[in-house]
Symmetry: C2
Subunit: 281 residues, 2 copies
């Protein structure tokens, strides 16, 4: 398949490499040209976003709403074929792109760059049925599992936002619980082992809990600042839909406080360390 990719950040470049390895013909574009070096000789290097947008399917993997807007909406750029946005963006921007583009698929992913490199992402797709089906070969190259959330792009965006909010609640609540059992002289190892051997046996409790036990917060796999962005996406979605999300408000405030104390570049699981440090000693 003839695929364009706009955005060669940590995720985008691993996805591009994986798609090339899977036999797809790629045109890559990045705002700063240095990131395209790695693809010299393996893909067509586009000199503008418009060039990449001429592909049969164009994927965007950009940092946030502002970056997506600057590529597509400010320039009034229209994709030739299907536009697949795999980044985490707001519901409002999702609706705007769906209105502006002929065939728009929201396909945010669960997983980090290492998973993208191995084709082990989880993809949540939503959009016009035929467009989603047309994208299957590229999803299958990138993903371990593909879920279809519905035919309206906003549905996939909402799933991604709500799930990242749930990850934040795991961090916040584990942080509070570790602080409590620590003061009762329970070994954090023992506590984590008990939790993840019983009804909280989930990959996220295991991995986040492990980071907390080891204090492994730098380098960040997902920074507090990115976490804050995701909480703000949840709150803006809640506001426009008329939903109460008091936990999201609380965690947003705790992340802001921790960032104000100089922790913004640490992994977002370091919120546990920050909560622990707030006790009376």
């Amino acid at each position: 398949m003839d695929i364009g990719i706009i955005g060669l950040g940590q995720m985008g470049r691993e996805m591009a490499a994986r798609l090339i390895d899977s036999g797809h013909a790629l045109t890559v574009y990045n705002r700063t040209a240095a990131a395209t070096q790695r693809f010299r000789g393996r893909a067509r290097i586009a000199s503008s976003a418009a060039e990449a947008a001429g592909a049969e399917v164009v994927i965007t993997m950009l940092a946030d709403d502002a970056a997506v807007e600057s590529v597509w909406l400010r320039q009034k750029l229209i994709p030739r074929g299907i536009h697949v946005n795999m980044a985490t963006v707001s519901l409002a921007l999702t609706r705007e792109l769906a209105r502006a583009h002929h065939q728009y698929v929201a396909a945010p992913v669960f997983g980090r760059p290492a998973a993208a490199a191995k084709g082990e992402l989880d993809i949540i797709a939503a959009g016009p049925k035929a467009a989603v089906e047309r994208c299957r070969p590229l999803f299958e190259a990138l993903a371990r599992q593909v879920f279809v959330a519905g035919e309206t792009p906003e549905q996939a965006a909402a799933v991604k936002i709500a799930r990242n909010f749930l990850l934040a609640t795991v961090i916040e609540s584990l942080g509070e619980a570790f602080a409590l059992v620590g003061k009762a002289h329970v070994s954090p190892e023992t506590f984590l082992h008990i939790l993840t051997s019983t009804s909280l046996a989930a990959p996220v409790y295991k991995s986040y809990g492990r980071q907390m036990v080891e204090g492994a917060y730098e380098p960040a796999q997902f920074s507090m600042e990115l976490g804050l962005k995701d909480l703000e996406l949840a709150l803006s979605a809640a506001r426009e839909k008329g939903v109460v999300m008091p936990t999201a408000e609380l965690i947003r405030k705790n992340l802001l406080d921790a960032i104000a104390q100089g922790n913004g570049r640490k992994d977002w699981t370091a919120l546990a360390e920050y909560l622990g440090s707030k006790g009376s000693g």
Copy 2:
């Protein structure tokens, strides 16, 4: 083993039956005698708590701190051998009983009456090493897994309190997330399937999520009122240890509000329904 059991409520009676079936000699006591009927001919029916407390090991399975205090502390009752308290009680009461009794083991359980009946509880034990080891045969009759949290009874109580707090955070956060995706017209089934097929694949997300999808809140498996009691145990533990638990405060308030609206007898997962009903429509 010669075992006494004080408290034949929903959990206590299933545990007693299981211990008898496992070949242990039981003496059972309950404040209201009717609950002992089921054990006529199968166990010795004690006419006082003191009689049951004369066993080699005496288990108490009572509703809350007040019930435990009224059996042991008000009457200044002292067990002959090992006292194993399997109920969820406060850290403060745990310390008091550990001071008052020669051999005190805190052994709270994870699991509902049906699991107790099948010997599939998870038991978290803490207390003097020799006493915990002496209890192994009875733990093994009741449990799928036995975890030792340490040699101080308070350690097991803290694990149980912190873990029940984490269960409450799963309910609160899932409730908020379901409300959000619902307003974006995502099927709750699809959302739950995605969550529990990816990094939130834990038994508690599956079971609580299922109850929310089906609105299966009555009869309660664990009521909002019991949930509120457990949040209050977490907050009193946090207060005495000097730990900040803002999520526990938030969920306590939401449970109180939901109970004030007449939902106290519903399952505590009905907090999701209450949170959903608070949106703007």
